[in-house]
Structures are given as C-alpha cells and as structure tokens.
Symmetry: C2
C-alpha cells in the first residue's frame, strides 16, 4: 500500500471478539477475511461456535494476548468485561462497539480498569435481526465508525482501533465521547423511541384497519423492531441526552396539536395560523431530511 | 375470465384522469395498458402533455361523457372539481384518490354536486417523488384500494370504481368514510407529522453530527420528504382524527420522558420503575410493528 493511512504503522495480526452477536460476528468475518487470526468468545459457547462455523474465527481464548480485543456487548456490561479481560490478559488493547460512549468509559475507570489501553468505538451499522446468522463481513463497508479517545487513551490503542476500522472497510471519525452521545441521542436513540411509540399505537388496532398500512408506515416503524432488552440498555445508558431531545420533540408536538385544533376554530385568522404552523413544521422536516447523507452504496 | 368478480358486470371503455401528478398518471398508465381510452386533464397543460408522452392517455376533454372520471388532486379541491366536471358532462361516474374521505363527500353535497354518481376512493400507494415522471403503471399492484360508498352512492358508481381498482391490479376494500379517516390518521397522517418533527430536529444540526446518521434514521424520516403543500392539505382535511392520535402519542411521550428521568433518580426503586416503563414501551412497539402486513412483493 503506497497510500498513507493513520493505521498503517500498526499491523493487526491477532484479535479477539467478545460477544458474537450480529456486530461481533460481522467484525470477526471482516477480520478473518483479511487474514487476522481472530478468537471468538461468548457467554453462550453455542453462539460462539455458530459464529465460528460462519467463518468469523476460532472459538476460545488465545494462548497469548492478542493485539486488540473488541467488546461487542450492550453498553452497561462493557466496564466489567473490560476489567475482567484485562486482568486475564486477553489483549494489549481494547475497544468496544457500544451505542453509548461516556458511561462505559466513566464506569470502567471507577471499577479500576486500565482505560489507557481502551478506546471507545461505535460503528454506524446494524440490522433489525440479531445473532450471528444475521452477520455480514461487509456490514461496515463505507459506514462511519466513531472512535472516542480521551486524553488518557494511549496512542497505540487508537492506532490499533483505526486499523480495525480500516480492515472492516469503514470510515473512521474521531469524536469527543460526550459529543458522540448527544449526537446519537438525536440521530438514533430519540428516533428509535418515537418509532416505538408510533408502532405501539398499532398493537391494539383492529386487524382490518391494518390493511390500510402502507410502505411509509413500515419504513417509519422499522427500527422499532430492535430488541427491547438491548434498547432499554442503550436508552438507560444515554438517558439524559435522549430525554433532552424528546422534551424538544414534545414541545413541537404540542405546537402541532394546537395547530390542528386551530384549524377547527370558527375564526378564519386562527385557521390561517394553524395552517401556516403545520406548513412550517412540514417544510422544516423536508429541509432536515434532505440534509441526511445518502448511503454510498446499497447494502 | 371464469372467476366471478364484483366489477365483472361493467366494462370500463373510456375514462378521464383529472390531475396528472404521480397518482393520476399512474392510473392513466394502468388503464391505457389495459385498453381503456383515457383522457388526461390538468390545470397545467404541460403536465398533462408530459403524462401523455409517457403513455398515460391522450390530452384533452373527451367528445362524449366517459364511463368514469378519476379526480387525482388534493382533498380540499375535490368538491369544486366534482361539481365543475359534472356540470360540464365529463363522465357518468366519478371517483377520487384523495387521502381523506369524509370532508370531500360532505363538502361536495353542500356545494350542490350530485354525490349519487360519486364514490370516494383511496389507493394505498405513493412515493416521495411527485409529478408524472415518478409514475408507474404497476404502482397499485397488490396494494389495498379503499372505496367509501355512502347510502346515497349509486350502485353503478361503485361497480365502475371496482372495475378501475381491478384494472389497476389493486385489492378493493369497502369501508365507511369516517372509519377510513380515523384509520389513516393512525396509519399515515399522524406518523407523517411525527416523522416531520424528527426530521425537523436535523434542520439545524451541525453537518459533522449528521455523519452519524444511519439507515434507521433515513427509513424513519423518509416520509417526511412528502410535499408540504399537499400534506398541509391532507392534515387540514383530517385535522380532528389526526389530533386525537397525536394527543395519545404525546401522552406516551410524556411517560417515556418521565421514565428516562426516573433512571437518574437516586432511589433504585425509581430507577427500576423507569427501566420497566421503557422496556414496556419498546416491547409494545415490537408487538405493533410485527402486526403490520408485509408487502406481497417488492416494488
């Protein structure tokens, strides 16, 4: 490779994936395909064997510390796993793929883990389905993969995590952990909860009414299929930033309801006001949606 | 055809499409492909010519009344269009494709239109893009197409509209107009406004933060790309049922925000309560989403 790359100076020869669900197995598939010897661990050995059978690596602990371990588990269990696997000498450096970055980092320090050799990570990829069978080696291709080093993070941890991102075909973005958490509250966690609320309204609806559901409703509520256990964990770990976004949405929702009520007012001026307010909210939605980057490719 | 069908007794030989946008042009393409002589009218003659060039029919008024005219325009302008085209003798029977059914029917009667030869209709199909160029002859294939006859609707109007639905390859559903409007408030109009509110939060976000937007957010906010003028019209026409759904969602949203705040409470019992409430909302969302019928085929 003639092109300079931040991860070029380090080579990832060995890795471990702890937690072989959708994301962990996809990491294992990507690394194994690029020649990295990858060890697979899961609290359920059967799940690790399933990932290994798909080509994500070999089951079990490595004989010597690997270059980098990837903790692929819900945010709340990352600190304890980091401490435990550091003490067992699993790897020189650690990263994770959790959707929230401040609390794991803070708790890891407080439980006594060495956070110098750890850097938080979050690939912007996923699927509604979970488990190894939903994994794909190209899951991270051209996706953003955030890394959140702190002033205490060793340069070697960042370099090895950048090499992981490169081998997975993703685009690395370095970001402050708190900024990351506020951002995903806006782009992922609050939208998830709102999609769940919309989908929840359908739970009690008469089946004949659901025949009128179209592609728009299916798209809008697709993320609500995410696993409630995992998402409770994510929302709990990022509660304050998510609550802040949702309070703002609640304020806008109150305006929308008021605007709809003004339309029924006998005073034409109130009707006009309601119509203008609705038009403003809808137009702002178009503006916001048009700002979203389109995916580089399908898949 | 050996299979009995409610629309079998009538044959649609001639039709008119008034308003050659996405839906109207798609109707024209479907009817023309099935051999129905179709006349295309639009307040902008250039748009009608564009639809005709795509194969949706011929531009201009028919020399004699056609069997059925399809009014493909926003709900608020349907009553006046119905009255005008009835007086001009455009067709024996009329239907429309508007997203709301009670107000056009009520207003049509009050402005003096003959609502006996009119039956409301609403195909469950669409696209974010608008205009003739986005039209497709198979847009309605295997989609639900609601018809809302009243006790004043002539049987011939229903029979001709059913034949239209059949020729477009859609599945007809007969439904009370008020029930239709309450249902689409739940399945389409309230979700649209909520998607607009979520998308609107992105309008002022820093571009670097939008790099963290993934496929989930794109799906959830896709419908927010709908045209603000059309959607203001739809929401205005169905204001009371939409407001009712949104008030319920606002109540659930307040519960969700409270649950997130309980998670930060020093009392572990409050934290548990918050977690349980969030899990309940998320699980209800999964239940509701799983009830949605999947499309019969892609496209």
């Amino acid at each position: 490779m003639s092109e300079h790359h931040p991860g070029e100076d380090v080579r990832l020869r060995t890795a471990a994936v702890v937690g072989t669900g959708l994301i962990g197995t996809s990491v294992g598939l990507a690394l194994s395909a690029r020649g990295v010897t990858t060890y697979l661990l899961d609290r359920d050995p059967e799940v690790a064997r399933e990932a290994a059978a798909l080509g994500a690596g070999r089951v079990g602990r490595p004989p010597h510390p690997v270059d980098l371990a990837v903790l692929a588990m819900p945010p709340s269990v990352i600190p304890r796993a980091l401490l435990e696997h550091q003490r067992a000498g699993l790897a020189r450096y650690f990263t994770d793929v959790g959707s929230v970055k401040v609390p794991p980092q803070r708790t890891a320090a407080s439980v006594g883990a060495d956070i110098g050799c750890y850097v938080g990570g979050h690939p912007m990829a996923g699927a509604e389905r979970s488990g190894p069978s939903a994994a794909r080696g190209d899951l991270f291709h051209d996706r953003t993969w955030v890394l959140t080093p702190s002033e205490r993070t060793a340069p070697g941890a960042v370099a090895h995590a950048l090499e992981l991102v490169r081998l997975c075909g993703a685009d690395p973005v370095l970001m402050d952990a708190a900024e990351h958490d506020r951002t995903v509250a806006l782009t992922s966690h609050a939208p998830h909860l709102l999609a769940s609320l919309i989908a929840g309204r359908l739970a009690g609806a008469d089946p004949s009414r659901l025949r009128l559901a179209g592609a728009g409703l299916r798209d809008t509520t697709r993320i609500a299929l995410g696993h409630p256990d995992l998402w409770t964990d994510i929302l709990r770990s990022n509660a304050a930033p998510v609550a802040e976004v949702l309070r703002e949405v609640a304020g806008e929702l109150a305006v929308a309801v008021a605007a709809l009520e003004w339309l029924a007012d006998p005073d034409p001026a109130q009707q006009d006001r309601g119509e203008q307010e609705l038009h403003h909210l809808l137009a702002l939605g178009v503006t916001g949606r048009e700002r979203l980057p389109e995916p580089a490719r399908v898949g």
